[in-house]
């Protein structure tokens, strides 16, 4: 019942406003035409006073719901009560009526204004200027160069900048579309969307944000409900969000609804390339894979556990670089989807093009395994590979390399597995590999290595497993 009476307030308030104003109008009319309208004037102030009284009671009941800004409510409440008292005074006291009527007119305006501010929000009359927070958020941050872009394409210069998705994208949307009813000024349904903690707290009935699940987050689902649905937001008749804004919110929630995460995004200077960068979806690792997959602890070989090798998430690599790998038919596979390490396989990259090797420099941090088997790789090509300092497994079987290559390869600090079968290397070359600290497996079948060479090598590196391919079946 109190709920019902309370909600009559917006209806009732218009009665005293209209009736009292009409009383004032009649007083002016009486003054101008000198007709006797005192009875009608008195009656209108009586009626105005009584309806004002009812409005006050209803208004007080409505205020108890606590959905509104307390400061504004206080102001509105006392202005309203004063208005009601004053109108009773005008009815009962005939003297100073003009002074009191003037005060009443002013009070009515003030009360009405406060009331309107409560229901329609602060910017009902004067909408705020669309702010440029988004642009500021990006430009204020110092761009950080994450990738070496020079050798790829000199025309495109691009930088990787970091920005906070919540501040840069979500807040402006909420500000223009939601704050009117869900912020400090007004908390419809008890919901505020102006700070992180309030968004997480939700409305008085339920949460509005369920991380990673936009469809169950009212923050998103209410946006895409049919416009005629009671729960659709913003309510019918108000300004609606654009499709892009809705998608931004969905993506943000789906990707973990982080308020803090800063992501790398590629900022391309070149105008043509700008078009490309707009298609780059900023992603961070935990966001990408936070779906239904639980992680299984793995007990994996050395290729995976490497505290000594730190590599940035391959997602930070430029899409342009990754596309080049694809164009050149070089397969890049992550060790697994939780790992930052990549394996590169050139099995499809035929005929072999030396410049393809230069591409590998772009991923030298992430690259831990490289397969170049059965390609016409020469010693000079190995120079490039010697710079790929994180390689642990290298397959060079059936290539055209010689001892010179091994001199370059001994510079690889992480190298563990090296496949050299079917190459023209000799004992001298093998001896150079004694410099490889981490070497543990060597494949040397069909090479010019002799037994003496291996014995010599084993004296220095006894732990290295060498597969010479000398197994012969004993005939039965």
């Amino acid at each position: 019942m109190t709920y019902f009476l309370g909600h009559l307030h917006p209806l009732l308030v218009h009665l005293p406003i209209g009736i009292l104003l009409f009383g004032i109008l009649m007083m002016i009319y009486q003054q101008l035409t000198a007709k006797d309208m005192n009875q009608a004037i008195s009656f209108s102030f009586l009626a105005g006073s009584i309806t004002a009284l009812f409005s006050c009671v209803a208004g007080w009941l409505l205020a108890q719901s606590g959905e509104y800004d307390e400061v504004l409510i206080q102001k509105h409440q006392w202005a309203g009560i004063t208005t009601a008292i004053l109108s009773f005074a005008i009815y009962f006291i005939r003297r100073f009526r003009w002074v009191m009527v003037l005060m009443l007119a002013i009070l009515l305006t003030i009360t009405g204004h406060y009331g309107a501010t409560i229901t329609h929000g602060e910017h009902y009359f004067f909408p705020p200027i669309k702010d440029n927070d988004k642009i500021k958020a990006i430009s204020n941050d110092t761009p950080i160069n994450l990738i070496d872009t020079t050798p790829i394409n000199k025309k495109d210069t691009f930088k990787v900048v970091q920005y906070n998705i919540y501040q840069a994208e979500i807040v402006p949307i909420l500000k223009t579309n939601c704050y009117n009813c869900h912020s400090a000024a007004k908390q419809k349904e008890g919901l505020r969307l102006d700070t992180e903690s309030f968004i997480k707290k939700g409305s008085k009935n339920s949460l509005v944000l369920i991380t990673g699940d936009p469809l169950n987050s009212l923050l998103y689902s209410s946006l895409v409900l049919s416009i005629d649905d009671e729960k659709h937001m913003p309510p019918k008749g108000k300004h609606q969000l654009t499709q892009n804004e809705i998608q931004s919110i969905r993506k943000w929630i789906q990707n973990g609804a982080s308020f803090k995460t800063r992501v790398d995004t590629i900022y391309v200077k070149n105008r043509l390339a700008n078009h490309l960068s707009s298609q780059v979806e900023p992603l961070t690792k935990e966001k990408k894979y936070n779906n239904t997959f639980k992680q299984i602890p793995n007990n994996q070989p050395a290729l995976i556990h490497s505290p000594e090798i730190s590599a940035k998430n391959p997602d930070t690599l430029s899409k342009i670089v990754l596309n080049l790998f694809q164009q050149k038919n070089i397969i890049l596979t992550p060790i697994n989807k939780e790992s930052n390490y990549l394996m590169a396989n050139f099995v499809n990259a035929v005929p072999f093009d030396k410049s393809n090797l230069l591409l590998l420099k772009q991923i030298k941090q992430q690259l831990v395994a490289l397969k170049l088997s059965n390609l016409p790789i020469k010693d000079e090509d190995i120079k490039i590979i010697a710079g790929l300092y994180n390689i642990k497994k290298l397959q060079l079987e059936n290539t055209a390399i010689t001892n010179l290559s091994l001199e370059y390869l001994q510079q690889l600090p992480q190298l563990q597995t090296l496949n050299l079968y079917g190459t023209n290397i000799t004992d001298d070359g093998l001896y150079k590999l004694t410099q490889c600290k981490n070497l543990s497996v060597l494949y040397l079948w069909r090479t010019n290595i002799t037994e003496q060479g291996i014995t010599k090598f084993k004296m220095i590196k006894p732990a290295v497993k060498i597969e010479i391919g000398d197994f012969k079946f004993q005939a039965k």
Binding site: V224, K251, N336, S373, N374, Y421, V441, E467
Partner: protein, 500 residues
């Protein structure tokens, strides 16, 4: 050539508040099931349904799964599965049961059989006489594993193998047992292991299928094989296994018809692809994409297949290694060489089928012949992969669909007996990437009738195989006709003890 044009819908409706992709989706002709799925709340909800489920960035359930693969760092990148079709007897190969030698002809104790149902072939026998192996066993390698004298070459590489003596299945007849092993279900219609792997991990070599099947031509065809054993089931059809044959046409219908030039074919395929693109815009059916990728792959295979099938430039020493039959194209030995070549080209899953292991009668001679055909090439494959550094990331599997009984089927004679199907225990082995070498896992009772230690169900084997390939078997899911399917269905546990 002239590109085929289609009216741009977007240009005629300038102020429609939908993303292009959504509009394209709405304009598609849909299958009944898709239509109902998307318009769950009736026609009015169609636009909304599209908003909720088909945003350009909202990925499908399947796509999300594929994006997360491999979930675990894979130990093997490739698999070669040597399938011994028919059910090789464990008694004459790996499961050494010396106590049986004193029990020749005795009735199988009821306490061992425990009321198990037998096949119609031996259920009506008056007695179930125990028959020991006609062949001797010896211990080999550092692991001192018992191996039959029929497998002298395998015995020499025994330290590379992980022998599982405690496999068991639920099926007692060939067709359901084979289907169960390959697809995880006894009824036909589900995707086979290779198809699942092709679907989940894709193909490394873009010029060859990810799943290739080779069937020995020189085996006795006692039980049939069917293409559905390497079928894709409900997965997109580009993931079905492709059989390479030994004859003039290794892949059927791959070569151009006579008098038809390669350039003509290229142009024809380009036009066909455009037509298929139009059709795809209209229907959005995944099978259209599958068809297009198959045409493209087939075109590339016209050059890659003759290259890979040609084993003539293999060195003499290789043929010696794989044995005398290895020069005979299509034989098991030649297929082993071919398998190695395919694996070298980074084909994901190569499956060899060798029939002729179904010895209901005449087992001693039969299995001797089978072993002679397969023993040396199998061992040679291991040796060859090892010296090329490929055993590091290739998993080798050997085994059949079930085992055989301890009792003789039909007439009993020490030199001529038969064994019936036995699903309760049998032996298979794995080697290479991800599995512990020189290991024996599981144990059967003295009659090799029941498992006494560490049973491994077919689903457990499949789960372990997927694990080695970097996939948690519970996570490789495909939704079809309202149900979520897995290779291991609703069971399967990973045998961690045999993993490195």
């Amino acid at each position: 050539m002239q590109p085929l044009q289609k009216d741009n819908i977007m240009s005629s409706i300038p102020h429609f508040n939908l993303l292009t992709s959504e509009l394209a989706d709405l304009n598609r002709k849909l299958e009944r099931r898709d239509f109902l799925k998307r318009t769950a709340g009736g026609l009015g909800a169609m636009a909304l349904g599209s908003l909720l489920t088909n945003n350009a960035s909202a990925k499908s359930f399947e796509q999300q799964i594929l994006d997360a693969l491999p979930t675990i760092a894979p130990k093997a990148k490739r698999v070669v599965y040597l399938f011994m079709s028919g059910g090789p007897s464990q008694f004459e190969t790996f499961d050494y049961k010396p106590t049986l030698n004193n029990m020749l002809g005795q009735q199988l104790p009821d306490s061992v059989r425990n009321g198990q149902r037998l096949t119609g072939m031996s259920a009506n026998q008056a007695i179930l006489p125990i028959i020991p192996s006609a062949y001797n066993f010896n211990q080999y390698g550092k692991s001192q594993t018992w191996v039959s004298e029929l497998l002298p070459y395998t015995a020499q590489v025994i330290d590379e193998l992980c022998v599982i003596k405690s496999m068991y299945t639920e099926q007692i007849n060939h067709d359901p047992a084979l289907t169960f092993f390959q697809t995880g279900h006894q009824l036909p219609g589900r995707p086979s292991i290779g198809s699942w792997l092709s679907y989940g991990l894709g193909s490394e070599n873009k010029n060859l299928p990810a799943f290739i099947v080779l069937v020995s031509k020189n085996a006795s065809r006692d039980q049939p094989l069917y293409a559905r054993l390497w079928g894709n089931g409900f997965l997109p059809s580009q993931h079905q296994g492709v059989q390479f044959r030994s004859g003039k046409d290794p892949v059927l219908f791959l070569n151009n018809p006579e008098g038809y030039d390669g350039e003509d074919r290229k142009e024809m395929l380009q036009y066909l692809s455009q037509l298929n693109h139009l059709q795809n815009d209209e229907w959005g059916d995944a099978e259209i994409n599958a068809r297009m990728s198959q045409y493209e792959l087939a075109f590339r295979m016209q050059t890659s297949v003759p290259d890979v099938m040609d084993i003539s430039n293999e060195k003499e020493e290789v043929f010696e290694l794989y044995g005398p039959e290895s020069r005979d194209k299509g034989s098991y030995a030649a297929n082993c060489i071919l398998a190695r070549k395919l694996l070298e080209k980074d084909v994901r899953f190569v499956q060899l089928y060798h029939q002729g292991w179904d010895h209901h009668g005449g087992l001693p001679q039969g299995i001797k012949y089978q072993c002679k055909q397969t023993d040396q090439p199998t061992a040679a494959l291991i040796v060859d992969l090892k010296r090329r550094g490929m055993l590091d990331d290739t998993l080798v599997i050997w085994g059949g669909e079930f085992g055989r009984t301890v009792y003789s089927q039909g007439k009993i004679d020490k030199e001529n007996y038969g064994r019936d199907h036995h699903p309760r225990c049998f032996t298979m082995w794995m080697a290479g990437a991800g599995v512990k070498p020189g290991m024996t896992y599981g144990q059967t009772d003295d009659f090799s009738y029941n498992i006494v230690k560490n049973p491994v169900h077919v689903h457990d084997f499949q789960a372990t195989l997927l694990q080695i390939m970097g996939i948690n078997h519970e996570q490789l899911i495909y939704k079809y006709q309202g149900r979520r399917f897995r290779l291991t269905d609703v069971s399967g546990k990973i045998i961690n003890d045999i993993l490195t």
